[in-house]
């Protein structure tokens, strides 16, 4: 007997140990918990260029941190900004030196300034000849807004215009040492653009950013008490999301565990259920997490939060065993035999329902499917292996009213009565109009919770900067870089025409296409073809004719060839980020900024009809993906339900199977109606809740049918199952994260409806005296 017990413990411990050991060997120690929800999206079937462009724009967004120091005294504010910069660099963030970059770029543009006339300027010089140039030089020299020595470096002021037209990161913010700075309403602003290297969404990256911001804020306060420090960026949102999820996980777990323990203590009045339920819980969560890590290398925060809800399901099998052991009709040695059918079918059906989630192709649901199936199987294993060798003595707890109440409820509900038909009909009559209010929303932004304080700061900073993140980006593909630049120039002309307030940013703003540069050089060449005319034009303008000679000498000394991408990239390597080289040629990344949020439809319209150009809206693509998954998951629910229906028909016959399937369908209808009335949109997480509702409703019917329709123990087990599920899943409705809240609310309504309608799965029958 002892050997038999030891063998069971050994089998259980070794199986769990091997799984955990394998998971440990696969664990990505740098990122054991992944908070980036985007990594849970399925891979898109995109071209290589689009995949890399999406990744690059996403990385640029998720790694960027903006810090704004402001104050009323320029010198003090600058000193505070320098202190903030030092603190953030010391904390491990990277900063760009905009001033240095600007100077390097300016040198290259200065060298090639003859190639940088825009089409209108080139046309003007070609048509107006030497006289037009002399006029422009005269204006440049005369204007109070002109540079003293402009003639030497920029005759006519054309280079100045080119440089002034270059895309600026933020309107009114100009390079000022390592900062971008501006003055508004007597307040001085110094902007720092920083980068979090590594995985910004990983704990290390986001925590680093948050710590750097804290240190910078302290440094600013110590340097300038009146100055204000604000920061925003994806790493800070990731850090807040992690802390919030962690906090929610802890309190959801603690509260649901405490409530479940109180319920167990009230019903069984013994320590044994706590110990065994605790063992089952720890083992099932450990096995679930290990299985996810073994397969995926890390576990996502969403999976972990959903995993806490496993508390409710994993314990159901224990309740079935406990109810029969403490208050059932079987002796201890026969308990397992009595519940085996119910446990087996419930476990198989539950695992099958969750396993179907793996077929959605949605990594998030795949992780949850693996987590749930592994957790359920481990929970079942603990019940089957450990419970029979630990609960061997006859229990001494007497049945009390709370134990008898569930059986009474089931028995009353099973009495032949017209109310068995009227109540469901009324519920459906109320619910059905709600179906017509149902609407779907797959916008990923509506699934997340952004802390109001961070949102306010972000909005304030973006308003000060006068620039909001664009809704997407343009991808311009062509066989070579020059053709891509020409296509981008056409695109930007369309954008300027259709969205005059928008500011297009792309490589062609820094590197005009070769044809445009050749046109510029040709215009100058036509001017210098006749030096005598040039001298005459200057003389007629009242300027020294020698200026013409000076210009011609500068022309002869200049490269007189287009600026190349290689030369520009050597001076400003960051511009390389616009270029994606593919097997088929080159793709350029470009985008458009506005002083308010730009309309994605207008940007898409600007790209319409242009060869090789497309507008990519990543959020819309994610929403499309969510929609596809939601629709696919819904069909999987239907197919899964039909499959399980087949199993029930095989085991119980068609008539009884249909009766057992009716309560879950009723609960589903009521839940959908309630969600419609409340205004909770359908999304992929609500669909998961519907799968759960169908699964648990079916389990209740199986438990009642398999263990004994009118007996105390199955009724008690079903009641405890429903209550613990409500305590665990239902608690999610209080979550700050909208995705979890919607899931919890749907489950709360659905499980309540499932439990109350469970007696409908049994045939009407009068209680025997």
């Amino acid at each position: 007997m002892i050997w038999r017990k030891a063998a069971r413990w050994l089998v259980w411990a070794i199986s769990l140990g091997l799984l955990c050991g394998f998971a440990w060997s696969r664990l990505d120690l740098s990122q054991p918990i992944n908070t980036n929800v985007l990594t849970l999206l399925p891979a898109q079937n995109d071209s290589a260029a689009l995949t890399r462009a999406t990744e690059r724009t996403r990385n640029a967004f998720v790694h960027e941190l903006l810090a704004l120091v402001s104050g009323t005294n320029a010198a003090d504010t600058r000193a505070a900004a320098q202190a903030a910069r030092r603190a953030m660099l010391a904390a491990g963030l990277q900063a760009e030196n905009l001033g240095q970059t600007f100077e390097q770029a300016q040198r290259v543009f200065q060298r090639h300034h003859f190639a940088l006339l825009d089409p209108a300027q080139a046309r003007h010089l070609r048509r107006g000849g030497a006289k037009a140039l002399a006029t422009d030089v005269a204006v440049s020299l005369a204007s109070p807004a002109g540079m003293v020595s402009a003639f030497g470096s920029d005759p006519g002021g054309y280079l100045t215009q080119f440089l002034a037209a270059l895309p600026r990161p933020y309107p009114d913010f100009l390079p000022n040492g390592p900062f971008l700075s501006a003055t508004r309403d007597g307040r001085h602003y110094f902007l720092l653009r920083l980068e979090v290297r590594g995985a910004a969404f990983a704990k290390q990256g986001s925590a680093l950013a948050a710590a750097a911001v804290t240190q910078a804020r302290e440094a600013v306060q110590q340097t300038c008490a009146d100055c204000r420090f604000e920061a925003t960026g994806a790493p800070l949102f990731a850090d807040a999301a992690r802390r919030e999820a962690k906090s929610e996980t802890i309190w959801l777990t603690v509260i649901s565990t405490l409530l479940i323990m109180a319920l167990i203590a009230f019903v069984y009045r013994s320590l044994a259920p706590h110990v065994l339920a605790g063992l089952q819980l720890v083992a099932s969560v450990a096995a679930a997490a290990a299985a996810v890590i073994a397969i995926f290398g890390s576990i996502n925060i969403l999976t972990l939060v959903f995993g806490t809800t496993l508390l409710g399901i994993a314990i159901d099998y224990a309740f079935l065993y406990f109810a029969e052991y403490w208050f059932g009709s079987s002796p201890p040695a026969a308990v397992m035999e009595k519940i085996r059918g119910g446990l087996g079918i419930a476990l198989a059906a539950g695992a099958l329902a969750f396993a179907f989630l793996a077929g959605t192709g949605f990594p998030a649901l795949m992780q949850i499917a693996v987590f749930s199936v592994a957790g359920l199987l481990e929970a079942g294993l603990v019940v089957a292996l450990i419970f029979p060798i630990t609960l061997t003595r006859q229990p001494t707890v007497a049945a009390h009213p709370a134990v008898n109440w569930p059986r009474s409820f089931i028995a009353r509900a099973c009495r032949p009565s017209r109310w068995r038909y009227i109540i469901p009909a009324v519920l459906l009559a109320v619910a059905i109009p709600g179906w017509f209010f149902l609407h779907a929303s797959d916008d990923v932004r509506e699934l997340q919770h952004f802390p109001p304080q961070l949102m306010h700061t972000d909005q304030h900073i973006r308003t000060i900067l006068g620039r909001f993140p664009p809704p997407g980006f343009f991808l311009i593909e062509a066989p070579d870089l020059n053709q891509a630049l020409a296509r981008e120039e056409i695109l930007f002309a369309h954008v300027a025409q259709q969205l005059p307030q928008a500011n297009a940013v792309g490589l062609s703003r820094f590197l005009p296409s070769t044809s445009r540069q050749q046109a510029s050089l040709a215009a100058w060449r036509s001017i210098f073809a006749s030096p005598a005319k040039l001298r005459t034009a200057f003389a007629q303008m009242g300027l020294p004719p020698a200026l013409g000679d000076h210009l011609e000498a500068a022309w002869q000394a200049a490269p007189r060839e287009p600026l190349t991408a290689q030369e520009l990239f050597a001076a400003v390597p960051d511009l390389n980020k616009f270029v994606i080289r593919t097997d088929h040629g080159v793709a350029l990344l470009a985008t458009v900024f506005g002083q308010s949020n730009l309309n994605a439809a207008a940007l898409r319209q600007a790209a319409t009809g242009l060869a090789g150009v497309q507008f990519v809206d990543p959020l819309a693509r994610i929403a499309d993906t969510f929609e596809r998954i939601r629709v696919r998951a819904t069909w999987l629910v239907v197919v899964g339900y039909l499959l399980i229906s087949g199993i029930l028909v095989w085991r119980y016959g068609r008539r009884e199977a249909l009766r057992m399937l009716w309560p879950p369908l009723l609960a589903l209808g009521v839940t959908l109606g309630a969600l419609g009335w409340i205004g909770v949109p359908l999304n992929v997480f609500v669909v998961v809740a519907l799968i759960l509702i169908l699964g648990l409703g079916r389990d209740y019917a199986v438990f009642l049918r398999e263990v004994g329709a009118r007996q105390r123990s199955p009724a008690l087990a079903v009641t405890l199952s429903a209550m613990t599920t409500l305590l665990s899943f239902g608690l999610l409705s209080l979550s700050q994260i909208p995705a979890l809240s919607a899931f919890g609310l749907a489950t709360l309504i659905g499980i309540l409806a499932s439990y109350l309608s469970a007696p409908l799965s049994l045939p009407p029958e009068r209680e025997k005296p």
Partner: protein, 179 residues
């Protein structure tokens, strides 16, 4: 290239350095630009007016040119007679220049101090202001700027010396302010 616009900004230095709001001011001027490599300086004559709402700058010889900025609107009249409106939205430096200019006219030195070390010495007729650029891109172009007042708030002479050797010297002769 905002730094290229300093000629315009420093015209208001007298009032900014004196830290007193400017009255209307009008003057004729002689502008002498000396370019590196040219023996002959380029000399032009003109008229300027300043008031709290804007600035008027007219070259009368050797060619005709007008630059006027008033309440945020900027227009130019070119030597060939062409008139054109400059849009500060399209030419962001104009908005910055206007802002700095208006600040300076209202006696706000902070914009100047953002880029320069400002040294103001009282002289018999007003103030002599010397601006030396703070370290940065500006310091690589400008060596020194000096403004001498003929009366508080009225510049008499403006000199800009560049690192390249280029110089600009503007001498103002006040005339009765026009309404």
């Amino acid at each position: 290239m905002k730094y290229a616009r300093l000629v315009f900004i420093v015209l208001s230095l007298g009032t900014a350095a004196a830290a007193a709001p400017a009255a209307n001011f009008a003057a004729t001027f002689v502008q002498t630009r000396t370019l590196p490599g040219f023996d002959t300086p380029i000399v032009s004559h003109g008229l300027m007016r300043v008031d709290p709402h804007g600035f008027y700058w007219e070259i009368k010889s050797p060619y005709h040119y007008v630059f006027a900025m008033h309440d945020g609107h900027v227009h130019e009249e070119l030597p060939d007679g062409t008139k054109r409106q400059l849009d500060p939205d399209q030419k962001p430096w104009l908005a910055a220049v206007e802002h700095i200019f208006v600040s300076a006219l209202s006696g706000d030195r902070s914009q100047l101090q953002r880029y320069f070390n400002v040294k103001a010495e009282p002289i018999n007729t007003g103030t002599h202001v010397t601006l030396t650029p703070k370290p940065g891109a500006l310091a690589k172009v400008i060596e020194r700027i000096e403004v001498t007042e003929s009366a508080p708030g009225h510049p008499e002479r403006l000199q800009i010396r560049e690192k390249s050797g280029a110089r600009m010297d503007i001498r103002f002769t006040p005339v009765a302010a026009q309404p």
